[in-house]
């Protein structure tokens, strides 16, 4: 059974225990669900999502609309990041030259120290 337990330098990780806990939680969820409302009918208004008394939206929430608040809060960072990602191949080569200079400088300094 040693193949299961990952022993790290500071502790260990046992996936078997995790799986056992996962199965127990699934069983508890299933028991709670089975004790739910018995008169539930598929395909009726009961299955529609509650939307504050309004008709529920018919379309999915688009992927690009998710995490809107995150993008607003990080607006300045994203503005800078987008400016760095121009899609122009000259800029890609420029980044490479910069990286080369940094590595060469760091290695030279590191070699001298």
């Amino acid at each position: 059974m040693t193949g299961f337990v990952l022993t790290t330098a500071a502790g260990h990780w046992d996936p078997l225990l995790w799986l056992a806990a996962f199965i127990i939680i699934l069983a508890i969820v299933y028991i709670i669900r089975s004790r739910g409302y018995k008169k539930y009918k598929r395909g009726t208004e009961q299955t529609l999502p509650f939307f504050s008394g309004n008709l529920p939206p018919v379309a999915n929430i688009r992927s690009s609309n998710m995490y809107w608040g995150f993008f607003e809060a990080m607006g300045r960072y994203y503005k800078w990041l987008r400016r760095a990602h121009t899609g122009v191949v000259n800029d890609y080569v420029y980044s490479f030259v910069m990286l080369l200079v940094v590595i060469l400088a760091a290695m030279t300094l590191g070699g001298l120290l």
Binding site: R62, S63, Y92, S95, F96, A106
Partner: protein, 512 residues
């Protein structure tokens, strides 16, 4: 036995010769051509497995190309031939690379069927050439052959990126060619410096010389080679070609390109650990660690706003190689005394390299399948696919959880090792790593909700072909296997590979 003796050469020669014969075999029919490609790669996989079994026992398998006795590498103490070297580390990466090539060929069977007008004999020829190049990169023992195989890989990758022959794919291929050529040029310059100084190209022989007499020229050569290999691996700040290329190439080609980026990292680690380990300034390890942390952060934050699924995965791949660099870079900082947390960091980095290939490959193939069944690249345009393709949703979820490092997937075990050991060196690096994983989960939850949940997609949805499903299921199996048996993977594959990497004397002694 003769097969094992020639295994390193066969691992390269079989896909290479199969590539050259593919246009001829194609004349016999599509089915025969597809079988030819898959059987060639399956045979090469068998050879690589044999080689792996041999070297995991602790041997260094050395092969001198063209010599009457292949194991005789340095007559008179001076290696002059092309020498292939297989130790536990190179065997591990060649096994991973060949497995991915085989799965890519199986996936292609139905995926590429409708693109037959573009000339699939050319597609499969390039695919096999790419596989041969990957084997060469994994097994080469000299710098010039390394350069040749990097060129083989770059040229065949560019051809495959441009395969769909659209304006965007030509643009992506052109950018990739420019970037690859720039990197290769500086790599060749670095190799030239070493050749000028030592008059030889064999890695082990140069490692032997470097340990005795090193100068600024070695540092300059190392810097040139490391920069070129970081460019090939798509680390920040030279990552921009990666999403461009991933967006345009077919999904099964992208998984091979992903493997190539990790092979570039392997070559970089091989050069740092095995060739220059005794003279390596500590700044090199820190540079790799810092670039790794930057790759994690920039990769995830750039992935978040993307709308094209493959482009998004391209940025996620940038973040994922950041974790590998965090782990292996920490090992480099501790060189030459790699033990305890440093050894765990290095093992975690190598383990994550393998998990990364599996997790991202599954996600890329799932993304390719979404494109295949809906004809939509834009994730805003699809939704509710789980209603029509439940198995695909499950496979996507497995890859999503694995990339985000959630238990019980393989990605969790390797990331746990990296977080824990990197924390010992600098807690901030660990925090960046964990934050990156949380953001990756947030990104993929968004994708999963958008593509698979909600109101069912209104357009027509095709059935997922069995060959494509098979390739994805194999990847999912190994992701779960490495997650549930992490110690087995470490004992059998990862620890021998890490030990081979940190022991340059065994590498040098095996050849010279």
């Amino acid at each position: 036995m003769i097969l094992l003796e020639h295994a390193p050469a066969l691992a390269i020669a079989v896909p290479l010769l199969a590539a050259l014969a593919t246009p001829l075999v194609s004349k016999a029919g599509k089915r025969i051509r597809n079988l030819w490609v898959i059987l060639s790669l399956a045979f090469a996989e068998f050879v690589v497995i044999m080689l792996g079994r041999d070297v995991l026992a602790g041997n260094v398998h050395v092969y001198s190309v063209g010599a009457s006795v292949p194991s005789l590498t340095s007559t008179g103490g001076f290696p002059i031939r092309i020498i292939l070297v297989a130790d536990a580390m190179s065997a591990l990466v060649s096994l991973a690379a060949m497995s991915i090539a085989l799965l890519a060929a199986i996936y292609s069977w139905r995926f590429m069927e409708e693109h037959h007008s573009l000339g699939l004999d050319k597609f499969y020829t390039l695919l096999l050439l790419l596989a041969a190049g990957m084997m060469g990169l994994s097994l080469t023992g000299d710098f010039f052959t390394l350069f040749v195989f990097i060129e083989v890989v770059s040229i065949s990758s560019a051809g495959l990126i441009a395969f769909f022959s659209s304006g965007e794919s030509f643009e992506a291929a052109f950018k990739y060619m420019v970037i690859s050529a720039t990197g290769s040029l500086l790599l060749l310059f670095g190799i030239g410096l070493l050749y000028g100084k030592y008059g030889m190209l064999n890695m082990a022989a140069i490692a032997n010389e470097v340990s005795m007499q090193h100068s600024f020229l070695d540092i300059a050569a190392l810097s040139l080679m490391v920069s070129a290999l970081l460019l090939k691996s798509g680390s920040v700040p030279v990552h921009m070609w990666k999403p461009d290329a991933y967006q345009e190439a077919p999904a099964q080609v992208v998984i091979m390109m992903l493997t190539i980026t990790l092979l570039s990292l392997y070559v970089m680690f091989r050069i740092c650990f095995s060739v220059f380990s005794l003279v390596l300034p500590v700044t090199m390890g820190w540079l790799i660690v810092i670039l790794g942390a930057m790759s994690v952060f920039v990769g995830v934050t750039m992935a978040m706003p993307q709308r094209n699924l493959k482009r998004l995965i391209g940025y996620a791949a940038v973040a994922e190689i950041g974790y590998v660099m965090l782990g292996a870079g920490t090992g480099l900082i501790a060189m030459p005394n790699v033990s305890g947390f440093a050894m765990q960091a290095l093992s975690g980095g190598i383990f994550h390299m393998i998990n990364d290939v599996l997790d991202l490959s599954l996600m890329l193939l799932a993304a390719g399948t979404v494109f295949y069944i809906t004809r939509q690249q834009d994730i805003n345009e699809v939704g509710g696919l789980a209603h029509k393709s439940g198995y695909l949703a499950v496979l996507f979820m497995i890859s999503m959880l694995a990339i985000a490092g959630m238990p019980p997937m393989g990605g969790f075990a390797s990331k746990l090792m990296i977080y824990e050991s990197v924390y010992y060196f600098n807690p901030l690096l660990s925090i960046i790593g964990i934050l990156g994983s949380i953001m990756l989960l947030a990104i993929f939850v968004k994708i999963f909700a958008s593509v698979f949940l909600g109101v069912p997609y209104k357009g027509s949805v095709r059935q997922v072909p069995k060959s494509m499903m098979f390739a994805m299921c194999v990847l999912a199996f190994f992701i779960l296997f490495f997650g549930i048996f992490p110690n087995l993977a470490l004992d059998l594959l990862i620890t021998p590979a890490a030990e081979a990497l940190i022991n340059p004397q065994a590498y040098i002694g095996g050849v010279v």
